[in-house]
């Protein structure tokens, strides 16, 4: 006798009921009963359709976490955080400070800021703030009695942090808009192979704070190959910024579009090695290295 799912579990193990009843979402948010969860996990073990959804959620979640990591400032003695709604908030902050215990928390409009009491007295305001960050610690703050001289210092910090947050939020909003909007004359550095490797011979790329992308083009030398293995890295840094294959365009250009955030000021090298001959003849294994400097 087979032990197939009972009728009430059929809806979590068959399509299109899975889609109609939002079973994937309910599974991912822990809203299935134990029996339903077991039945769905068993079904999805070899169901490509469900696995596509589940793995997409996994990547989505990971990408969100990656964004947070991207925005997270270096550990500082004070940190600030904002909810997503504060992204759009331009309202003047209404500051409500509550008291410290091990730490203190302040809510500024939709923004919550926590300050570590154990930090040295000369606590610096956050150098950089983050959006889309951790949940607001308001509840903990409400639970603690208001006291302590540190409250005044916290309130001052809160105002400073709120102003920083607003500025940061405005920049992020602007950047969000730039991702989709057409942009004329984007930052572009066109590189030609140079014999000298001295930093002073490197091309310079000016990046403004509001610039979302930068174009980097290397003019490949004849004889042209149809494909090049290229690597973009920051000189003196261990990690590679980007690595992949490029095909030359009609003007023999090998072009990479790089997020400006990834280009901190410094000296960079683009290394390209021919990997596929256009004519089928033997190709040179000589690597072309060009350098450019990113300046603010």
């Amino acid at each position: 006798m087979t032990d197939r799912p009972t009728p009430d579990l059929v809806r979590v193990t068959t399509h299109p009921a899975i889609d109609d009843d939002h079973v994937v979402e309910r599974y991912l948010t822990g809203m299935l009963s134990t029996d339903e969860e077991e039945a769905f996990e068993t079904h999805s073990l070899a169901c490509d359709r469900c696995l596509d959804e589940l793995e997409a959620d996994e990547r989505f979640r990971s990408a969100f976490a990656g964004i947070l990591g991207h925005l997270r400032p270096e550990p500082a003695s004070a940190t600030a955080s904002a909810t997503a709604s504060s992204l759009a908030s331009e309202a003047a902050p209404d500051v409500a400070a509550t008291s410290p215990g091990d730490d203190a928390a302040v809510s500024v409009g939709d923004t919550a800021i926590s300050v570590d009491d154990s930090a040295p007295t000369g606590v610096e305001p956050p150098q950089s703030t983050q959006n889309l960050a951790s949940p607001a610690p308001r509840r903990a703050a409400r639970d603690r009695p208001s006291q302590s001289w540190a409250l005044a210092a916290v309130a001052v910090l809160a105002v400073a942090a709120a102003l920083l947050l607003q500025r940061q939020n405005a920049r992020l909003l602007e950047r969000l808009g730039q991702l989709e909007a057409p942009r004329a004359a984007p930052p572009w550095v066109r590189l030609q192979p140079l014999r000298s490797t001295a930093p002073e011979s490197a091309a310079r790329l000016h990046l403004e704070e509001s610039t979302p992308w930068a174009l980097i083009t290397l003019e490949a030398e004849p004889p042209l190959a149809s494909g090049y293995a290229c690597r973009l890295s920051r000189e003196g840094a261990a990690s590679t910024l980007w690595e992949g294959s490029l095909a030359p365009d009609l003007w023999a250009g090998l072009t990479v579009l790089v997020p400006a955030d990834d280009l901190v000021p410094g000296l960079y090298a683009l290394r390209c090695r021919p990997e596929i001959s256009a004519s089928g003849s033997e190709i040179s294994d000589a690597e072309t290295v060009v350098r450019f400097e990113v300046v603010e």
Partner: protein, 202 residues
């Protein structure tokens, strides 16, 4: 390989072939189940490398049991695989807690390179860009707040629904639409591992 047939029945057919001594079916079992086992185990243990090891261990245990014809109900071999995977994961987590371990016990365990390879880094960057674009595309602030609170803050469904005054079905629709849009964005970006070129940008 993608299959449109009933995945449970397909696994059962493969299992019966293994029991009957068809050794070629063993590779088919691995092919049909390791993706799902990998997802399930990553969800349980959180560590992709450990999940990979547990997938292999699950398949080893299952194949030995099938060869010995000791799986009680071949019609539910998918449930059997799930059970083995969950048990192995639970045992491993318990063992790690007991020993305060974050890495495998075995001295002979090969050193792993935890640095993401260039392709993974590029894909991860592409995924981040897709999320940015998606957040920018959302029609309402409420949808953005739902995603951020759920995916970033880790707020559960009931909390988000209660605080935003949403019905659960509306909450699920937001998640579903966002994931669909995200998939469309990353599928458009793949398989090219490179950042967008001039042609794409223009």
């Amino acid at each position: 390989m993608r299959s449109t047939s009933d995945p449970s029945r397909e696994l059962t057919r493969i299992a019966r072939r293994i029991v009957a001594g068809d050794s070629t079916a063993e590779a088919a079992l691995a092919e049909r189940s390791q993706r799902g086992l990998g997802y399930l185990l990553r969800r349980i243990v959180g560590d992709p490398a450990l999940a990979d090891d547990l997938v292999q261990e699950t398949l080893r245990v299952a194949l030995e049991a099938l060869r010995a014809d000791s799986v009680r109900d071949l019609d539910r071999v998918d449930a059997y695989l799930r059970g083995v995977a969950r048990n192995l994961a639970r045992n491993e987590m318990r063992r790690r807690r007991r020993h305060g371990l974050h890495e495998p016990l075995e001295d002979t365990a090969p050193l792993r390179d935890h640095t993401p390879d260039p392709l993974s880094r590029t894909l991860a960057a592409e995924d981040r860009r897709a999320v940015w674009r998606l957040l920018g595309d959302l029609r309402t602030e409420r949808d953005r707040e739902v995603l951020v609170r759920h995916y970033l803050h880790g707020d559960d469904a009931s909390t988000v629904c209660a605080e935003l005054g949403l019905r659960p079905s509306a909450f699920y629709v937001v998640l579903h639409r966002a994931r669909k849009r995200f998939r469309a964005l990353i599928e458009r970006a793949e398989p090219a591992p490179a950042p967008r070129t001039v042609e794409d940008a223009s």
